[in-house]
Structure formats: C-alpha cells, structure tokens
Symmetry: C2
Subunit: 171 residues, 2 copies
DNA sequence: CGCCTTAGGTTATAATGTTGCAATTCTACG
DNA sequence: CGTAGAATTGCAACATTATAACCTAAGGCG
C-alpha cells in the first residue's frame, strides 16, 4: 500500500489492503488461507519490520495456536509460495509483499537502525538482469536484492550524542 | 581472474591470482594472513562453487588444523572483513571475491544446477542504488544482489531425459 | 626479557530450519 | 448422506548454521 514506509502513514490501511489481496489471491488460485496461515500473515503485517520465524512462535502460542517450528515454517512456506511474503535472507526474516501478483524480482531497502524494510519496484533491476543474461548467457529464474543503510527517519533522530544507539519505531 | 566461470579456463591461474592479491592486500593493511586463514582462503578458491562453513571443517581437520566451528568462522570473518571473500546469504555459503579492493556492491549469479557462482560488476546496479537513494531519501551502506538460474554449461548438458537431475562440475 | 595485543583452542549453546509419521480435517464424488 | 483421497496439522526428534565465554598461545616491540 504505502510507497514509503519510513513516512508516517495509515498503517491499518496497509494491513487491510494486504489481507484483502491475500484473500483474493487465494480465492483465485484455489488455495486455502487457513486460520494459522491468515494469522501468520497478519502478524507479519503488524509492522514493516521483517519478523523472524521464531518470533512468531510465542505470538501464536499466546493465541492458542499450536506453536512448534514446523507450524510456523509451513505457514511461511505457503505464503512464500503464493508470493504473499518475501524472505530477506541477509537477516533471516520475513516481510509482507507489496504487490503479491506472481513471482517477481525482489528488491528491498532495510534500515539498519529501525529495521523497517521497504520493497522497491525498480526498472534498473530489470535492465541489470537482462545485462547479466546477455553477458554470461545464463537464464535468470530468481533474483533478490537487499540494500541496507539508514532511513530518513533514523538519520533525523540520530543526533551526534545518540549516534551509535538504535531508535525504536513500531512500524 | 576469469570473467566467466562457466567457460573452461585455467583455474590454477584463478587461485594463484587470488592468493597473490590476498597477500598484497594483507601486506598493505598490516593484516596477518595466518596459516589457517590462508588455507581457508585456498580451500574456498578450490572451485567457483561457494562452500559452506561446515564443509571446511573436515577439510581443515584432515590437514591437522584445529577444526571447531569458531576456528572456521573466525577465519571467514577475517576474510570477509578484508573483502577477500563474500557470503552468499541465500545459500549460506562463502566464495572468493574477484577484485578484493575495499567494500563494494556485491552481485552474483548462482547456477542452481552446478552451483558455481559468478561475481558481476554491473553499472545498472549503481544506477539502481542511486535511484533508490533518491526515491526514499535513504543512505545505502551495503548491498547484495543474488541472481539464480541456469548457466550455459548446465543448460547444454540438461537433455530432456536428464532434466531434473543435476550435473556435476568441479569448478 | 616483560608487557601488550592479537590469534587460536575448547566447550557449550543459540538461532534457524527440516524430516518423518500419525492424526485430523477438508473436498469431491457417487 | 457417506466414504475415499488429498491436504493440513500435531508432534517429536533432528539437522544446519552461527555465536558466546573463557582461557592459552603466539607475535610485536621497547
Ligand atoms: Zn504501513
Ligand atoms: Zn530507520
Ligand atoms: Zn577459475
Ligand atoms: Zn551450472
């Protein structure tokens, strides 16, 4: 929904939109968005900060769901398969997808300070892929780009005396 | 050394070049390329297929080196720090760096069939970074792109009857 | 040598992700 | 409806990857 998660925005709308998209996509593909799967997706969307698989365990347990690793990983696999979430391998965490419509090149910026991640649609990325294919004669099937650094919000909050510390945002 | 690891090439030259570069870099930076560190680097360079940390353990043990996880990870950390190797986070494996001269944007293509990885210098990548910085107002500090698919050698070797199997190359 | 810094040895443990199998629930079809 | 087959979940154990803590050994230098 939001094009820049580092700016204040109506996050409820992000969540609502994501869930609606998910339900529509599952309907369309005949996939079953069961209670656990839906709840995991909701939990992931609670913020734009990617969440680790093992962080989800206690959250699910708290709500009476079964909470063993396979439960979470199966839900994550399902959501990944449908493209509803992405896995950020540099930080071993999972985050909701902006436009869950089929497999697409993935590009994220991750703030090292607040942890929030912004998905990016980038035409330079496609150009790069084509260039690599032409150069090496390969066929690209998957691609993942992870940028990291400091977001505008964190740069602003990081005054000289607080530098080195981490600021904490909820989403 | 090689600009395309999927083509036949003089791999000894790759290794020799990498080790020389490493020694020069350590000299220049006053870093100590100890026996374990050098051997780990050599082992990583034995092929263009990224190697897992735990694969190195028995290889080191076999040569009389201490082989507990910390030994290997400390060597890897040292080599990563100097930029002599890269970590491919999508496959949790380590591979030698082409041009070990300071921190630089990392871009690899990884063949899903033979596992060999080719590092790429790509101007589209820099353009993308600038575009992202301008778009979000962020500051990019690190970046990693991992493409995967099928290399020319594997596409050629994968006839209809062998499709689905993996071909094995040494480097 | 004697002091300091860096590197390595050792043990244990944390963090992340998988396998295998039985039990349950859902779906489709007659 | 009722039942067979498929998909999903529960559960226990295990595999893989990485780190912490604490101490000893080795190298650099006055
Ligand atoms: Zn939001
Ligand atoms: Zn931030
Ligand atoms: Zn080579
Ligand atoms: Zn290949």
């Amino acid at each position: 929904m939001s094009q820049n998660v580092y700016e204040p925005h109506n996050h409820s709308a992000c969540v609502r939109h994501a869930i609606q998209e998910a339900q529509a996509l599952c309907e369309e593909k005949g996939a079953r968005l069961t209670r656990v799967r839906l709840r995991v997706l909701e939990l992931i969307w609670q913020s734009h900060k990617p969440v680790g698989a093992y962080e989800l365990l206690p959250l699910l347990a708290q709500e009476g769901f079964n909470s063993a690793p396979p439960t979470v990983y199966r839900a994550l696999d399902f959501l990944l398969e449908l493209g509803l979430i992405h896995r950020l391998s540099t930080i071993n965490a999972y985050v909701g997808c902006n436009r869950p419509h089929g497999s697409h090149p993935v590009c994220f910026f991750i703030c090292n300070c607040c942890g929030r991640a912004q998905e990016l649609e980038n035409d330079k990325l496609r150009a790069m892929t084509r260039q690599v294919e032409a150069l090496l004669g390969v066929t690209v099937e998957q691609q993942m780009t992870e940028l990291s650094g400091v977001c505008p919000a964190c740069r602003e909050h990081t005054t000289p005396e607080t530098s080195g510390e981490h600021c904490c945002h909820d989403h």
